[in-house]
Amino acid sequence: MDTTSEKLTNKKYFLQKVAKVISIFSVIAAIGSIGYVLLANPSDGLKLTFGVVAFFFSAMSVVLFAIGNANLPDLSIKLKKD
C-alpha cells in the first residue's frame, strides 16, 4: 500500500518529548489531587476544586502520553537549492 519510497520512522520529535514530560507531571498532579481529597479531608469547595483538577490532569496526561508516544511521520520537507 506504500505510495512513496520513504520508510516509516520511529523518531520522537522535540514537541513530542515535551508532551511526554508534561504528561508525567500531569499524572503526578492528578494523583496528588486525588490524594489531597482523600487524605486531607478538605472543605466541600476544595474537594470540588481538586476533584476537577484531578479530572483535568488525568485527561491531559492520557492525551499528552498518546502524542508523546506516537510514531509520527517526518513532516519536514528539505528544499533543494535551485
Binding site: 520513504e6 485527561a59 491531559m60 502524542i67 506516537a70 535551485d82
Partner: protein
C-alpha cells in the same frame, strides 16, 4: 492532468476558494476590532465596533458553512462511489449563497443596522438583532433554501451510491445543522426565552452537530493519508459522535445557568458539559493512533499536519478552555468575560477553521490537477502558514485568558460596591489587548503564507 476520482468533486473548488476569501475578510475585521478595543474609533465612525464585530462573526459562520459544503461536495461522491447527483444545482446554490452572503455583509457595512432591518422588511417577521443571527430574515430564508437544495443534492447522491459510516455521519450532521437553524426564526419578546432558544441554534451547532461534521471530515482525511482500514476508523468515529451527542445535547444546560431556568440546570449543565471534552479527547487519541498505525507515507505532509493539528487544537480550545469555565460555580464569575472570548477563538479555530483547512489541503491539489500533493515548496509555505496561525492563535487565547482572569478579579470578585465598572476594567486590560493585537498580526502573516502556497508551482527545469 486529471486527478479526481469523480469529476463532479470539482464543484467543491469555488466553495473552498470563496470560503478562504471570506476568511481573509474575517481576520481583517478581527484586527480592526482588536485596534478598536485599545484606541477606540480608528476609522472615523465608518465602521463602528458593533458592525465590525457583526461582520467578523458572521464571516466566520458563513466561511465555515462554505467550507462544510465544499467538503461534502468533495467527500460524498468519493465515499458514495458515484458522481454527485447534480453538479449544476451545486453551482447554482453556490452563486445564490455567495450573492446573499455578499449582499448581507455589504448591508451591514453600508447602511445602519436599523435601516437594513427596514429595507429587508424585518417588521413582517422580526428575526434580526441577535448575536450571530443578525442576518435579515430574507437572508435567513435564503440560507434555508440553499441548505435544502444542498441536502437534497448530497442526499440523492448517497441514496444512489454506497452508504458508509462517514457519509452517514456527515449527512446527519448537515441535516442537524439545517434543522437547528430553524430556531433562528423563533424570536420571542421575552429576552430569557429568546436566549433559551437562541442557544438551540448556537450551542447545538458548535457543540452538537458540527462535531459530527468535523468527525466525518477528519475520518475521511485520516483514511486517505494513513491507509488504515476503514473499519478501524469508523469504530472510532461511532464512539466520538456518540460522546459528542450524549455530552453536547444536555451540555446545552451550561447556557441555562443564569436564564431564570430551574436550578437543576446548574447540575445538569455542569455534569454534562464537564464531559464535553471527551469527544475531543477521543479525537486526539484517534488521530495520533491512526497516524501511528499508518500503512503509507502520504506525500501530502501538509494535510497530515493539519489533521493532527486540528485534533490537538480542538481538544485544547473546545475541550480544555471550555472545561475551564463551564462549571456553574466558576461560570458565576466568568460568564461573558474575556475567558469566553479566549475559549471561542481557540475552539472555532481548532475545531472548525482547521478541519476545513485540513480537507482543503487534502483536496485542492487533486481538484487543481496537481496530484496527491502540492510541490514541496508550496507545502513548506503551507506549513509555515499552519504554524504561524496556530501559534498566533495559542497566544491570542493566552492573552485573552489573562485579560479574562484580570477582568474577573477586578470586575466580578469584589463585593460591597468595590468592583470596577465594565469600562474601567477594560482600561486595565489594555496591555493584554495590545498583545492580542500583535498575535493577530502574526496570524494574518500566517494566513498570507498559507494563501501564498496556492500560487506556488513547481519550477520547470529549462530544456
Amino acid at each position: 492532468m486529471n486527478t479526481l476520482k469523480y469529476q463532479s468533486q470539482a464543484v467543491a473548488k469555488p466553495y473552498f476558494v470563496f470560503a478562504l476569501i471570506l476568511f481573509v475578510g474575517q481576520i481583517l475585521f478581527g484586527l480592526l476590532m482588536g485596534m478598536q478595543y485599545v484606541v477606540g474609533d480608528i476609522v472615523g465612525g465608518l465602521i463602528p465596533f458593533n458592525v465590525a464585530r457583526m461582520v467578523h462573526t458572521n464571516l466566520l459562520i458563513v466561511w465555515l458553512l462554505f467550507g462544510f459544503m465544499g467538503s461534502a461536495y468533495y467527500l460524498i461522491p468519493e465515499e458514495s462511489e458515484t458522481e454527485l447527483y447534480s453538479p449544476k444545482l451545486a453551482m447554482i446554490l453556490f452563486w445564490v449563497f455567495a450573492a446573499a452572503g455578499v449582499a448581507t455583509i455589504l448591508g451591514y457595512l453600508l447602511v445602519p443596522y436599523s435601516t437594513l432591518a427596514e429595507y429587508t422588511f424585518n417588521d413582517l417577521w422580526p428575526t434580526m438583532g441577535r448575536e450571530f443571527l443578525e442576518q435579515p430574515t430574507i437572508t435567513k430564508l435564503g440560507i434555508v433554501v440553499v441548505a435544502l437544495g444542498f441536502l437534497f443534492n448530497i442526499g440523492m447522491t448517497i441514496l444512489k451510491g454506497r452508504k458508509t459510516a462517514i457519509n452517514m455521519v456527515l449527512i446527519t450532521g448537515l441535516i442537524g445543522l439545517a434543522v437547528f437553524f430553524l430556531f433562528s426564526f423563533y424570536n420571542p419578546a421575552n429576552l430569557a426565552l429568546d436566549k433559551y432558544f437562541w442557544w438551540f441554534v448556537v450551542h447545538l451547532w458548535v457543540e452538537g452537530v458540527w462535531e459530527l461534521i468535523m468527525g466525518a471530515i477528519l475520518a475521511f482525511v485520516l483514511i486517505k493519508v494513513t491507509g488504515v482500514d476503514r473499519e478501524v476508523i469508523e469504530k472510532w468515529l461511532y464512539v466520538i459522535i456518540a460522546m459528542a451527542l450524549i455530552t453536547g445535547i444536555l451540555g446545552t444546560g451550561h447556557h441555562f445557568y443564569w436564564l431564570m431556568t430551574p436550578e437543576y440546570w446548574q447540575w445538569v449543565g455542569s455534569i454534562f458539559s464537564a464531559m464535553e471534552p471527551l469527544p475531543f479527547f477521543a479525537m486526539v487519541l484517534y488521530a495520533f493512533n491512526m497516524v501511528n498505525r499508518r500503512r503509507r507515507e502520504h506525500p501530502n505532509k501538509a494535510a497530515t499536519l493539519w489533521a493532527l493539528g486540528t485534533a490537538v487544537m480542538a481538544f485544547l480550545g473546545a475541550g480544555v478552555w471550555g472545561f475551564l469555565h463551564t462549571l456553574a460555580p466558576v461560570n458565576y464569575y466568568t460568564h461573558g468575560t474575556q475567558i469566553t472570548a479566549a475559549h471561542g477563538h481557540m475552539a472555532f479555530y481548532g475545531a472548525y477553521a482547521m478541519i476545513v483547512m485540513t480537507i482543503i489541503s487534502f483536496a485542492m491539489p487533486k481538484i487543481r490537477g496537481i496530484g496527491e500533493a502540492n510541490c514541496n515548496r508550496a507545502q513548506v509555505w503551507e506549513m509555515w502558514g499552519f504554524w504561524l496561525m496556530t501559534v498566533a492563535m495559542v497566544f491570542i487565547t493566552l492573552f485573552l485568558t489573562g485579560a479574562g482572569i484580570l477582568q474577573v478579579w477586578l470586575q466580578r470578585m469584589p463585593e460591597s460596591g468595590q468592583a470596577l465598572s465594565f469600562m474601567a476594567t477594560q482600561d486595565k486590560l489594555a496591555i493584554f489587548y495590545w498583545l492580542r493585537e500583535l498575535a493577530g498580526v502574526v496570524f494574518l502573516l500566517g494566513l498570507v503564507a498559507y494563501l501564498t502556497s496556492f500560487f506556488i508551482t513547481e519550477k520547470k527545469v529549462a530544456a
